[in-house]
């Protein structure tokens, strides 16, 4: 299989957007969201269904495409059998998909969370960016307020750039680039040796340092449109703190880096940063996969 087109492919612009079609009650809403985003990003639309191809399903999709007034050269429908996760990811690679859109429950039952639903499994394994829509709408979601992670990671600059690009396409007005301060071991050290003044000074310095770092990344970003970019630091465990912040801000979209490694069951038991977000989605979530430093 030739995946050379994927190698070092930038995380944006989104030239091909795929929608995972599940024929659930949310079918129309999720396909509409995909069509609207494809239009906003000037991208090709792929509707992918993994499962049996039946006349009933075909006619349902045809009716929907007609209703959305999609022209033939604007979309393609792909049918495939097999394991939903593996087949979907395989088709995404094969068709050089830049963004995969999935409908996802805000929160899953404990058992389902540990076993893993299709949407969560794909979020953990995908080699392209993934947009999880918690409440897809037939009128299309608005993405006015966006919270973006600013963690110290080589991927972050690509994530912020992608968020800014996406924000321009969907007319975002407020972007909050947030970095989480979490220093295990420090509380014990400080309790032992630091005076109240020293403690405050260290906390202030940490905050200033983080803000400076995030500011440097944001400055390097290619600002587009008239969106306001605000830089923030928050204290708490990575993943959980930003989830809480997105909830408090009533954000429409949370944009985060893709995980550095494949996440497994152990990362759900000893919760990985990403798993704090996946266990209870605070809003729609865009997981940006930058392929800059990896082989595909």
């Amino acid at each position: 299989m030739d995946y050379s087109k994927l190698k070092r492919r930038a995380s944006y612009p989104f030239e091909t957007i795929a929608v995972a079609v599940a024929f659930s009650p949310r079918l129309e809403a999720i396909v509409t969201e995909g069509a609207l985003l494809a239009k906003a990003c000037n991208a090709k639309l792929l509707l992918i269904h993994i499962g049996e191809r039946t006349r009933n399903k075909e006619s349902k999709l045809d009716d929907l495409v007609t209703k959305l007034q999609l022209k033939e050269d604007q979309y393609r429908i792909l049918w495939n059998d097999g394991d939903p996760v593996d087949s979907l990811l395989h088709l995404c690679k094969l068709n050089v998909v830049d963004l995969l859109i999935l409908g996802a429950m805000k929160k899953e039952s404990l058992l389902q969370y540990y076993l893993g639903s299709v949407a969560r499994k794909i979020s953990r394994k995908a080699k392209c960016s993934v947009l999880l829509l918690t409440d897809p709408s037939k009128e299309g979601t608005t993405y006015k307020k966006m919270v973006v992670n600013g963690v110290e990671n080589p991927k972050t600059v690509h994530t912020i750039n992608t968020a800014v690009y996406f924000g321009k396409c969907v007319h975002t007005t407020d972007v909050f680039v947030v970095t989480e301060i979490h220093q295990p071991g420090l509380a014990m050290t400080m309790a032992d040796e630091a005076t109240a003044g020293e403690m405050t000074r260290i906390k202030k310095e940490n905050k200033a340092e983080e803000l400076e770092r995030v500011h440097a990344i944001v400055t390097r970003c290619q600002r587009q449109g008239a969106m306001e970019i605000c830089e923030k630091t928050i204290s708490g465990k990575p993943g959980y703190a930003i989830r809480q912040y997105a909830e408090q801000k009533k954000a429409n979209l949370l944009v985060v880096n893709s995980p550095d490694q494949k996440l497994g069951i152990i990362d759900r038991i000893f919760t990985h940063d990403m798993e704090y977000i996946l266990e209870d989605l605070p809003c729609n979530v865009l997981i940006v996969h930058s392929r800059v430093n990896e082989s595909v």
Partner: protein, 416 residues
Amino acid sequence: MEKLNNTDLVALLLAIGTMLILSRIVAELGKRWKMPVVMGELLVGIALGPTILGTFHPDLFNTLFPLKSNPHFSIALDGIVSLSVILLLFVAGMEVQLPMVLRQGKAAITTGLGSMIIPFATGFGIAWWKPEWFGLTATQGEGYIFPIFLGTALSISALPVIARILMDLNLFKTNIGMIIIASAMFNDLVGWLVFSFILSYAGKNGAEHMSVWTTVVAILAFGAFMLFVGRKIIDKVLPWVQTKLSWPGGVLALCMSVCMFSAAFTESIHIHAILGAFIAGIAIGDSVHLREQAREIIHQFVTNFFAPLFFVSIGLKVNFIEHFDWLTVTIILVLAFVGKVAGAGIGARLAGIDRRSSMAIGFGLNARGAMEIILGTLAYDAGLISQTVFVALVIMALITSLSSGPLMRRYTTELA
């Protein structure tokens, strides 16, 4: 119920007051020369104990600390010191973040393993081969317990000291800093599990021993239960406690009671109480719902009241001059430096880290600090080691803690 009488209570309160105020004064003075607080506390213990006060003013020593003449005083102080060590292990556990160890991936695992396996192997090997170097007779040296103990003692690290050094060198948030912190957490977790096994298997009371496998299974089962089930329960209960009950009383009561119940449970199944406290600390400290302020209050409460009492009490037990032995101190120091620096360094190199950074990681993890002293004290109390080995371990803990920063600095000038 037998009670402390007026004289016992006055003696106890005077002793505690003296220990607290003097250790604080010396610790504050020591900070001017970047001396760790624990060193100040140990020096006060040495000054107040048989080493200095007991030698030069035995009457004053016996009045202030009537350990031999007043059994009530002795038992009461022992109770407070036992509680102190339980709480110290609890707060040490609170700083262990297992997800962080996993997140650091291969580098943390190879470095963590290297910094445990090689010091353990060197310690075990030397203690097995030459028990007489540690004051053991040929018969005493036949068992596995002392070699396992020495191996464990050499493989442990001190997270709080390491965190402070990394902060001073401005390396806390760097990749190297994160690997060191994650590896130290890994060292702590495995080290205390092994040490609990040693203590439960080699306690003074032979009648209470479990078989090796029962002990191992009990430790693993308890650890797994607390980390998989207990942790999740605490995570669910904490938000309710922090919002519905009085603050910070509610959360303090919950944390302390979980620590005590957990410690009581492990002690009741003949695994030392410290394991229960340590694992309870991990389960509580890992919760995202534990507010930073609550964490700080617990740390302040333990490190500023219980820690000085524990570390000063060490000096009251042992005559450091009488039991100082150059050969034992040198052997333990050499083993500590070589094993840890080589082990952590090789582990880091295996993860693809460059030579200079690997050396920095090795020296960073070499700091043993308060954790080593706690481990040594428990081993001494359990009759596992002689006073000479105990003194050597305390000196090794202090020297490795003091030298870690300057030695790391030599290899990290370009990293910060």
